[in-house]
Subunit: 379 residues, 4 copies
């Protein structure tokens, strides 16, 4: 069951980096949602290797097939939606040494300890290729959130190593994120990040950083205390991504440097603007039109209080470590538990951040849509 | 189901801050474990309010009763263990204003939006009092981990606002943590933290900080990719604690400032020390005595690689925001959605960190024991 | 997790026959439902031993306490509702021999094999006393079904050994069921059942039979293919009751003697009667008033087709074996695995059927309310 | 989540009768199990339509592809095993009328009520074609049970309408079951069943009956009270099969005609036969060789006591209603809720029993292997 996530909108991924293919079954998608293979493919193309010079040159078209769950008009049936992407371009020769040696800071050793067996070609199940199923499912989650509640989920690269971007999560748009290959909506910072990544790639080294994500339009009431709090489920979903080492909700670690008086988000009421704002007002939805809107004047809570969305934009951040595969000789052990060395070969990303953006969006969307459905069962 | 956590070692908490009581049902505890009410009470006393001058002066003895799951000799039966702590000392008059006004950065508003009703006395279900059930269950989890695998879970205050302690997670001992009321094993830092907390308390203000936690002796193989990775489940469990805003596994956010070559943990093999080390070697367990031991020379992975423990100490950190209740007038709205102000009353912690230590330990122990049992089903 | 049942309306029971007490935590009950301790106690009194001469004379008042989940006005908060019934009147001396010998057709031997330990006094967790938690939770489920959807769940004794009652499940009323101590709404059959039970009791023997249960007013659309079909979840819930050996939905085993043409339920449409019928029409609900009502002219489907309710009354039957405890010497083995004999002692029901009626109702109600909430999340 | 079943060995099926294909993801299969596509195909061929004159003539080869979860040597990796069977031979013209009219005693109407949409071609998700995923997963479950515990699961047709076979569940062999197209190991009864099915087919009518299933070699200790009792999980799994209306464990409904003294299974101990018997002794396993073996002299418990296996053969029965599709005009309503009539067209089984045998075996095996793994976590 460890390859499944979600309660009412539940996904189950499958597949290794080398073998028949990878994919996902989405169980619990609401019926009567129009869905096209192009919408899924759009997100997969954002995740795909070989998009640009700073991502791995592994060439795979990652073409998705929808196997079930739609009728002939492309409407969801309320039944499981299975999606499959075939594997191609497996250069096993690149991986020969990996059969004998454990790559440092990779999952090889731990898999062998756990299962007593491991797919040594390309990382097997621990490969980032597994996230194809997540991103495909996330595309559906985004569509349901958009159609059902007008919610928009958008990720972006906030920081690469020590290069920090300036981003307003309330205003940032998809076009800005997609305007450069780093997926950083601050053009000047993007330029510097690009230079840095290019340099570490040439050195056979790698870097990490921080992906931010905002969900705008989330109504108050999503999240289920005490264990399935919205930030707890978001943390689990995002921390389950490969290379993710840290998670923040709202003010996160930075908020711990403030006092309570500085950190607290004051509530205010306003008769004002109709519709769902995306600006400072972050207006609370699902209430009678005649009621005043409630908002907070700051958003250190990141749109979540007591584990429940409060109507303000939901804000999270995720730390991704520098790519473990580097093209330089490193100390390690072999499967006979003898000391040896290993240098990375093959095609790898010097920085996972740009491709991590659609992954983080997918995980956030999957958690949100699950809680949206759970809240429907309560109201 | 949102008040339950875990797969094979599953806890279900119940109870509000005011009402009959709070407690927990632990389902899936292994049979034939000796368990005493004193062991549970020990952990509850660490969590209890009124322990010291820097914790809330609310006076509750928090005496636990074990209702089921043990035989007359105090051995677990393999059946659910229910534990109950009665509520006392409810000063409802302190909370009168809370019926009408939403406390800033508290869960009041979100609960009303979600459920259309809320227990306004003392926070109800969103009160930190709910964690009594977690800590009681965590005491059992710790016992099982100790007896079954020799695993020790220990938390400590690492930072209060900007006062940072110097702690070696491989060596720190419970006695050092408990040697002062801040639960910071660095005596000099503890002194300064204490002064700071005292000062903010006098000002009616509050502070937050960071709790660290180490699990020593965890064998390689715990954690279930791809969604129930060890760090993902730890993140969810810890982020479900009240006031927690951030989570890190191993190097966390700090690790994103390193390059791959700096960050990677080199594997080494050693015929060397028998038994389970707690020092730099962090030796891998569950392998034939004749096999060489494998360890890593650094531990940026925090004992987890690919979502699975690798035999090194498991290291996590959690950010706790400054207490939302402050004794000063703040802007807010009332239940009629009109602007108003509210000042905190009653007895509250100016800093939750010292009492959060046993809570974090409990959540970490609960996740570990669940994965220990899940790994038994695989081997 | 094996002591929990349900997805959105989830119960977790705890407690042994001897020890602190037994109870349940209900997680996921909708908020704002008025609930009184008397409503719970009413159902517990129907389940209680010592009600009449044909039930065990064990004297326990089984007084329930609601520990959490309600506000001071008795409204549910949407948070877990914990309920506790203390144990009393434990005559351990009656059970001394049970420590050494396994009772035939009881759970003693199997528990020892599974857990390596067992609460030998009175059956421990395998005692029918465990069902107190189920019946208490079922009382809440019934209330929610009544208030939320106008659904009524009613059980009755259909057969004791070979004495069969004549019952119309569409018309039978609670008063008829409760009019005699056998809980058989056919007074003439009830009389004969009573005589039979009295006779087997005098002989130190026991009998079993069949409990039927109808749910009237269930709207079309409840049940979740392909594994959580309504009849599948009902089967699991009912078959988890002590002593239950068989389950039928609709025509059950009898239906296998018919041909398809005889067995099929023809659909018919009628502009006719408004409101929810309980007669032959069994009218489909949740549709626009202007739409014709659809019903079936027979109900071999038992109100369920393809695992989903179709708007007709839901009908199930459950087989309960003769009570395993008999007051006569029987062959068995002791814990040293030596042949020996054992005769039942203490106070036991010669026939569990009358007390099984509220248990079956509880299980049916718990499954229905869970699926009612799950359907809310879909619509 | 309603298309998933199991806790530790968890399957998720997908697919409609018409569309890309049907399949399953098996999550939690133990690692290092040798598995071949032929072993899966063998069971699918037993389930396949068009096997013989008494099964539907729909022609589909039902060729399975294993997409993931195996290494290049055919060993399981401990990761999800995805399997896919493509759809072929869809004669949509046969189904045209089904778009407009609800077939009596089929799932059409209920699906429309539940989801507001339905795949009207061939039953969509409610088609028996969905069971392909179950049978493919069941083949793996059988393999794991055989290799891990020496457990054998075998089903057979016990009764067709009123023709009852004489079968000894302790001795019956797969060859006997497969020796005729009815899958009834009593050759004389099989002959008469065949005649009956042929006759009802010619009349455009249908029949149902009872499938029995035995699991031999199940050690004592499998099953998890109080809700995941072995018979409860078996009941749910089997009752979730299309057309299943009743379930019995051990003596079932017949046992309710006995007294306790007649029904109880006496325990006996014997130093005797080593190894796991399949005869009357049904010897208890997993105990020291030096210990006496415990067995029961009768097996009305069906190998399960208190929800836990007791080491005797596990025995269950399942009632399957007569096939709903008959080639004769029947009353029904159309989607406009107007009265009309409908006659079955296309190719359907006049009796599902022969093809239900591998389905029942699959469900029993899936439940058993899940509980086998759960018990490993306890011991």
């Amino acid at each position: 069951m460890s390859s499944s996530l979600g309660v009412l909108f539940r996904i189950s991924t499958f597949g290794e980096s080398h073998g028949g293919g990878v994919g996902v079954v989405v169980d619990g998608c609401p019926p009567r949602i129009p869905l096209s293979v192009e919408e899924i493919q759009f997100e997969l193309d954002r995740r795909r290797p070989g998009q640009s010079k700073i991502t791995t040159q592994r060439k795979e078209s990652d073409t998705v097939e929808i196997l079930s769950g739609l009728n002939e008009e492309g409407l969801t049936l309320g039944t499981p939606i299975a999606m499959l992407v075939r594997n191609e371009d497996a250069r096993s020769k690149d991986y020969g040494e990996m059969k004998e040696k454990y790559r440092p800071s990779h999952a090889d050793f731990a898999y062998d300890e756990k299962y007593g067996i491991r797919a040594w070609q390309g990382g097997g199940r621990s490969s980032a290729r597994e996230t194809i199923g997540r991103v495909a499912a996330g595309a559906i989650a985004k569509k349901v959130l958009k159609l059902g509640w007008g919610v928009e989920v958008l990720g972006y690269v906030e920081r690469v190593k020590d290069i920090e971007a300036s981003i307003d999560p309330l205003l940032v748009q998809l076009e800005q994120v997609e305007s450069n290959i780093v997926r950083c909506p601050d053009p000047e910072a993007a330029e510097r990040m690009l230079d840095l990544i290019e340099n570490v790639r040439k050195e056979g080294n790698s870097v990490g950083g921080v992906v931010g994500c905002v969900a705008r339009g989330v109504p108050a009431g999503w999240g289920e205390p005490v264990f399935d709090k919205l930030e707890a489920d978001l943390a689990k979903a995002v921390m389950s991504l490969p290379a993710c080492k840290g998670f923040e909700s709202g003010s996160g670690f930075a908020g711990t440097y403030l006092t309570g008086l500085e950190h607290n988000d004051a509530f205010r009421a306003a008769a004002a603007p109709q519709g769902q704002g995306t600006g400072d007002e972050g207006l609370v939805t699902n209430m009678p039109e005649t009621q005043a809107h409630v908002f907070t004047t700051s958003n250190n809570s990141g749109g979540i209080q007591g584990g429940i969305s409060n109507g303000m934009p939901v804000l999270i951040k995720a730390a991704f470590k520098p790519t473990a595969t580097v093209m330089r000789e490193q100390d390690t052990v072999n499967v006979q538990r003898e000391n040896t060395t290993l240098a990375g070969r093959g095609r790898h990303d010097p920085c996972v951040l740009p491709r991590a953006v659609p992954m983080v969006e997918a995980m956030v969307a999957l958690v949100l849509v699950d809680h949206a459905l759970r809240q429907k069962a309560i109201l």
